[in-house]
Amino acid sequence: MPDIAAIVAWEVKGFLFTLFAMVALKLLTGEINMGYLFYGRKNDTGQPIVGADGKMLGRKRQDTPYFSPERVQLLVFTLAAAFSYLTQVLNNAHPGTLPPVPDSWLAVLGGSNLVYLGGKAYSRLWPASPGAHEQETL
């Protein structure tokens, strides 16, 4: 009879790797919605849409999406930190212990998250000027 600990280890390993593979596959194939991942939204619902002739064409029904570099940098640093830590775990010199996360990585990730939050706060709390996005849908 196999050891109970070995069975549990195989169960957890199978579950984690299968779950990870399924989520990764669904992310890659688009089954998990990734729409607007790199886009923020300006807080401009209800603002008037002004045409080139100065006349009001209507009012915006939803916030305008904009490409957000702060989200891109956050993803890059997150993936880099995740990959770096997994590499440390796989090459761990002291099995049975979790390797420490370097302080430099914490600082970088903290800064990256601050940049992301700053961008988000700026776009949501300071609305865009009226008429700045006439091309958006009514």
């Binding site: 688009g30 919605n33 209800g46 997150t78 995740a82 775990v89 996360v101 370097p102 914490l106």
Partner: protein, 206 residues
């Protein structure tokens, strides 16, 4: 007594294993819907949620690898064991990610439009097209905020037929013999899961 304990252990292992299999199967067959796993209530994907997901997977995987590695480096069959301590750096990493998520939601929820649910929409491409008699035209439909949804196609006005599954439109084989007004056909795509989400495309027959 020892035999009973071992038997219970095997039973619990079997139960947990079956539970895990059931969860994975339900994700596979779509009963557990992950399509909005990292989406906001508005339907847009969220970078904070995505970051949280990545760190959760990385730390879960790391913890598992450390536990199964055991503590002794010189043993041949190491017993799985929990690490003595969790480094503060890992807790800080999760703290940064979690705090960022909370602040991000705080910013978003500070304004009603930030949490307004945006409906699933269907967009047909191309929206207008010229098709010659006896020719066919392939239409595509993009479903936003529910990308894995199926679309049902139908010709709602005018001549021709369309494959309900694939969106392949076939114009009538024969053109009218007498000249008359321009003939149009209208094609409709409907999201199967959200019947309110539809779009129309207009075909000009020539």
């Amino acid at each position: 007594m020892a035999t009973l304990s071992i038997l219970c252990g095997y039973l619990i292992c079997g139960f947990v294993g079956l539970l895990g299999l059931a969860v994975l199967w339900r994700i596979f067959d779509g009963t557990i819907d992950l399509s909005r796993l990292i989406s906001e209530p508005t339907g847009d994907a969220s970078m904070s949620r995505f970051q949280f997901l990545i760190f959760t997977f990385v730390i879960a995987l790391s913890l598992f690898l450390v536990i199964v590695a055991g503590k002794n480096t010189d043993c041949k069959i190491c017993k799985p064991a929990l690490p003595d301590s969790i480094p503060t750096g890992i807790l800080s990493l999760l703290g940064i990610s979690g705090s960022s998520y909370l602040v991000s939601k705080g910013i978003q929820y500070s304004d009603p439009s930030g949490v307004a649910d945006r409906p699933v929409t269907v967009t047909i491409m191309p929206s207008t097209v010229l098709v010659r008699y006896s020719q066919s035209q392939q239409f595509q439909a993009e479903v936003t905020r529910k990308p894995d949804s199926k679309v049902q196609w139908a010709v709602v006005a005018g001549p021709g037929s369309i494959d309900a599954e694939t969106g392949l439109y076939r114009a009538p084989a024969v053109a009218p013999t007498e000249p008359g007004p321009q003939v149009y056909a209208t094609v409709k795509a409907t999201c199967v899961e959200f019947p309110d989400a539809t779009d129309l495309a207009v075909i000009t027959l020539a």
